[in-house]
């Protein structure tokens, strides 16, 4: 059990113990704070700023079977309260990843959730099987079926319940019965609850909500799209209400399914909002870019706000906003 002693703001009263333990299905974590996939590489860079063993887990950038160059530049555009990215899943391929990144994370004692991305259902299956054998430091898989930066929108598996379920059931078959797998979903759908239900029925332990929204910026000086890839994924505080809504809807419909909430979390108060909406863990993404110590800061701020609101345990706050008074 991880308890952190904090003095509520104003300095009145005695220090309060706040227990940050969280439970995602069979997966127990000492903190609900995770990195958001694609916003932390494989942890090494952020370890200069944050002791990664003190957060819940590092969720690595989505890995594919083969090395991948990603898209041309410009890959980034600033937007109101956020940004667009159009990286295109640049990565070294699973062989290099398992040879270098996973052993490094293991050597530092960092709990690791590996995000996988496939071009087709079969690649997801093969990746899942490879990563499953990578050792005890890998405690779960996140299945990225919702990356918006692919040429063919038809390959965004999370846009349809049947294709999402097909990927998840294949991954489940390849990792065996109890290993935790989380399906990362896109908010760019008509009914996210339907997709969530399909993933759970197909064997997902829980769900990661949400991936970026598909967006676009046109440069009014060049008169062209700002991104080489034309469209990109919108992240940052701009999408937070969309993400909170997704967590709320899915938690309301599937209250027993553990959710990892993410989308524009900059502060402990933002993280608390997701927890009240029903997230059992939260992930920090875009905030790492301008504040590389955001993981530690948000964890401290969340502990503080839990204490101030009278919660001695994170678990008591999960989904609290749904309760009828």
């Amino acid at each position: 059990m991880t308890s952190i002693r904090v003095v509520p703001k104003g300095g009145r009263g005695l220090p309060v113990e706040v227990n940050l333990d969280t439970q995602l299905g069979t997966l127990a974590l000492p903190s609900p704070i995770l990195t958001a996939s694609g916003c932390a590489a494989s942890g090494k860079e952020l370890s200069q700023f944050v002791d990664l063993t003190t957060i819940g887990a590092v969720v690595t950038k989505s890995i594919m079977m083969l090395p991948r160059s990603g898209r041309a530049t410009p890959r980034m555009a600033e937007t109101p309260s956020g940004m667009l990215n159009s990286i295109g899943l640049q990565g070294p391929g699973v062989d290099d990843f398992l040879e270098h990144d996973v052993p490094w994370l293991a050597s530092k004692g960092v709990r690791t959730i590996v995000s996988i991305a496939g071009n087709d259902v079969e690649e997801f299956g093969r990746l899942a099987a490879r990563v499953r054998r990578a050792g005890d430091s890998v405690i779960a898989l996140e299945v990225n079926i919702s990356c918006p930066n692919v040429a063919n929108r038809g390959l965004v598996f999370a846009c349809q319940a049947h294709s999402a379920a097909e990927v998840i059931s294949t991954v489940r078959r390849n990792v065996g019965g109890a290993f935790p797998i989380f399906a990362k979903l896109s908010p760019d759908v008509t009914d996210i609850v339907e997709i969530a239900q399909a993933c759970v029925d197909a064997g997902a332990t829980g769900l990661s909500l949400i991936n970026t929204l598909l967006g676009m910026v046109i440069n009014t000086e060049t008169l062209k799209p700002a991104l080489a890839g034309v469209t990109g994924g919108l992240s940052g505080p701009a999408i937070r209400p969309v993400a909170v809504r997704a967590v709320w809807q899915v938690h309301a419909a599937l209250p027993k399914v553990p959710l990892i909430g993410m989308g524009g979390i900059l502060t402990g108060e933002d993280a608390f909002e997701f927890i009240l909406a029903g997230a059992s863990a939260i992930a920090i993404g875009t905030a790492n870019f301008h504040d590389p110590s955001a993981l530690t800061r948000v964890q401290n701020e969340l502990t503080q706000i839990l204490a101030e609101r009278g919660f001695s345990s994170l678990q008591d706050a999960i989904g609290f906003a749904h309760r009828k008074v």
């Binding site: 160059s69 990603g70 898209r71 041309a72």
Partner: protein
């Protein structure tokens, strides 16, 4: 800190009042490699790209290097640090497009005439990408190594976001989309595929096939 205020972030920075506090993360990335021997170095800066060259000049001269500098910009007011340059160098050439300071012309022309009359061992350069590309070509012509500080827009600066990439040939001969922020910002000029910046060259590791990404 030298800032060109031409985006929301840099305009915000430029608008800060003196003595306002800022969080700074640094130093980041790989520095200019310094020679072991007291060589003859040519430092070339374009516009505000001259900014990192003054400390470099100091470091080189402390090692007994001779430092020539060529600075260029569109006009005198776009040129940063001409006075400072005179203090830290053995010889200074200035070129402006409109001739408002120094000779009229390109800084690469100034660099060429220095290369023709002096025995330059290494070139250090910082400025716009086309200038760096031209200097790399010039370096190849005169068989001089060019160390280039590149400029790419970046979201994080610490190696996690993958936005600031450009095609660079590694020591193993393989072209990768390398991060300016941590793999650079200093790259050997002959390693960068200058003409391919803004694209993913076909020979890049993991480049998209005809079907696309």
């Amino acid at each position: 800190m030298v800032i060109s205020a031409h985006g929301p972030g840099t305009r915000w920075l430029a608008a800060l009042a003196p003595h306002q506090m800022l969080d700074v993360v640094g130093p980041l990335g790989r520095p200019f490699p310094l020679p072991k021997d007291p060589v003859h170095a040519l430092l070339v800066g374009g516009g505000y790209g001259s900014a990192p060259l003054f400390m470099l000049a100091d470091a080189l001269r402390q090692r007994g290097c001779r430092v020539d500098m060529a600075l260029g910009a569109a006009s005198a007011e776009r040129l940063f640090g001409a006075l400072e340059a005179r203090r830290v160098t053995n010889a200074l050439s200035i070129a402006t497009d409109d001739g408002s300071l120094g000779v009229q012309g390109r800084v690469t022309d100034a660099a060429r005439s220095i290369l023709e009359r002096s025995n330059i061992d290494v070139i250090y350069a910082c400025g716009p990408m086309p200038m760096l590309a031209a200097l790399s070509t010039l370096g190849a012509e005169f068989d001089v190594m060019v160390q280039c500080a590149v400029e790419e827009s970046m979201a994080c600066g610490i190696g996690i976001c993958m936005t600031c990439v450009l095609p660079v040939r590694g020591s193993d001969g393989v072209v990768r989309m390398s991060r300016s922020c941590v793999d650079g910002p200093i790259f050997a000029g002959d390693r960068v595929l200058w003409e391919s910046i803004g694209t993913v060259p076909e020979e890049t590791l993991g480049a998209p096939k005809a079907s696309g990404h």
